[in-house]
């Protein structure tokens, strides 16, 4: 019987980079952002496009990317399930490389989320499930969909608006240490609560940024991983799932069930480690509540305790377990499918390249992300040993 534990530490990220800058890039098309990320990640490990024989991407069709780049890979992964797609690409690349489907897998992300240059259409028809049972009630994009479960959670566990705000404050503290972050000025709980209401209980400063940018990764086998200029970042564990696409169909509004039941347990089992071995968390923060749900579902706190945990600034600089050290989707950058940037920061930390915010003695990082509005879920455990 095949067992994912045999793939622990068999594949490494050897190249990783983002676009030259992230934020406002009105002169870059979507595919250009993919390509710039790809060239930068390949340069980071001393390879070229001609070395790539496996490709994975989301947001654009894989064939759009291969046509644009001028390559013909022998492995393709077009899994496109929202912001966690790139975590799933890494997960699949581990198996593909171990199986011999590809030697060098390139994962790319690029999104003109702010400038909308070269962006395709969006939205489903009136006869889709969402078109019939959600759209008529005025849901309109992530702030009015991802946010729907929060009030139920607040009633169940006593989560306060102040605790939600603390997630934004903590994350901004990290952003202030990162020169690439878009929003770096310190903020207070009051600043968050006084920012305009988007969809109560969410205020503007509870919501992620909307930016342009990209990132890419290069993965190879254990045998090849030692031949590259930078230390390998090993894939130790992975988990993935999909559930609902309409937020009214989420199984439990007080629990990120796919993370609790599937992706977290699978990732920890494959990595053969427990929570105490995790030094760093990258928890995709589309909104302030997303990391709260993630902390609890993954078992870093008990249910209902992550709000107070963030309010005690335990994930902030100087706290016990650093969370979202790049400044997150809330303050660093958020192109639309942010998962790639969460992986990039984990790689930077594990390579000791996170100047100004480097975590001492780091050996492991857990990256966790949703796609859609808790619709898809993915977890990676990465390490440098």
């Amino acid at each position: 019987m095949p067992d994912s534990r045999t793939l622990r530490r068999k594949v490494a990220i050897v190249g990783a980079a983002e676009t030259d800058t992230v934020g406002h890039l009105p002169n870059h098309s979507t595919l250009q952002l993919h390509a710039e990320s790809a060239f930068n990640a390949l340069a980071d490990c001393g390879l070229t496009l001609d070395d790539v024989d496996g490709i994975a991407t989301a947001g654009v069709a894989p064939a759009q990317l291969t046509e644009y780049l001028g390559i013909m890979p022998r492995y393709v992964d077009g899994t496109s399930v929202g912001g966690c797609s790139f975590l799933i690409h890494v997960s699949h690349a581990v198996a593909a490389i171990a199986a011999g489907y590809a030697d060098v897998v390139l994962v790319t992300h690029g999104e003109s989320g702010r400038s909308r240059v070269g962006v395709g259409g969006f939205g489903g028809g009136a006869s889709t499930i969402g078109g019939q049972f959600e759209a008529p009630f005025g849901v309109f994009g992530p702030p009015s969909m991802f946010s729907v479960p929060i009030v139920h959670y607040m009633k169940k566990y006593g989560l306060t608006e102040e605790q939600l705000a603390a997630v934004s404050v903590s994350t901004r503290q990290w952003a202030s240490l990162n020169p690439r972050a878009l929003m770096r000025d310190p903020i207070t709980i009051e600043d968050v609560l006084n920012s305009r209401v988007i969809a109560w209980p969410l205020h503007l400063l509870n919501c992620c940024l909307v930016t342009d940018g990209g990132g890419a990764l290069v993965l190879v086998s254990e045998e090849r991983a030692k031949d590259f200029p930078k230390p390998p970042v090993w894939v130790l564990g992975r988990g993935e799932s999909v559930q609902h696409t309409n937020i009214s169909q989420m199984w439990d509004y007080a629990e990120w069930t796919a993370a609790a039941k599937v992706t977290g347990p699978e990732a920890f089992r494959m990595a053969d480690m427990d929570h105490s071995a995790i030094d760093h968390l990258m928890l995709y923060d589309a909104f302030s509540h997303t990391p709260i749900y993630a902390m609890e579902a993954l078992g870093f706190t008990k249910p209902g305790e992550a709000g107070p945990w963030f309010a005690e600034m335990r994930g902030a600089p100087g706290g016990a377990l650093p969370v979202n050290t790049n400044g997150g989707g809330l303050s660093y950058t958020h192109t639309g499918m942010y998962g790639m940037f969460a992986i990039q920061e984990a790689v930077r930390q594990l390579r000791k390249e996170a100047t100004g915010r480097q975590i001492n003695d780091i050996e492991t990082s857990l990256v966790h992300a949703p796609g859609g509005w808790f619709s898809a879920t993915a977890t990676l455990i990465l390490g440098n040993q």
Binding site: S127, F133, G138, V139, V151, A199, W200
Partner: protein, 136 residues
């Protein structure tokens, strides 16, 4: 430039009975005869984990329920007068469904979670009636 329009649903074969029921002022949802549980939205099999039976029937339900969760949308769909309440209600028969709560000047204080709610049939045009809810 045309004024933004509210999105309207278009029925599919497995949902026609639901939309037709609303036009008659009835909330018609399905129940599984194998596990005796109601479910929503309409489809020709039971979606409950561990069941998935195809032995299902249409039933008319009470239209009573509780306010499960919601947002007060201040900046969302341009065709809706803000602020408006996007809510998910739990019907007394069990299923959850998205809706709007009809209320003037919505605030967190006037919308306690788990408050009882009752369906209001909102006729949009000759083809579409939407299920909205009000606090009881």
């Amino acid at each position: 430039m045309n004024a933004p329009q509210k999105p309207l649903p278009q029925a599919t074969p497995e949902t026609e009975e639901y939309w037709a029921g609303l036009q008659r002022g009835e909330l018609r949802i399905q129940r599984c005869r194998a596990c005796n549980r109601h479910y929503f939205y309409p489809r020709p099999f039971c979606p409950h984990v561990g069941c998935h039976s195809r032995d299902v029937e249409w039933t008319t339900v009470s239209g009573k329920g509780k306010l499960h969760s919601y947002v007060i949308a201040h900046r969302a769909h341009p065709a809706f007068a803000s602020p408006y309440v996007i809510a998910v209600v739990t019907l007394d028969e069990g299923p959850k469904m998205m809706t709007n709560i009809l209320i003037d000047n919505p605030t967190p204080e006037t919308l306690p979670a788990d408050a009882p709610v009752q369906i209001v049939y909102e006729t949009v045009n000759e083809k579409v009636t939407l299920p909205k809810f009000r606090l009881v």
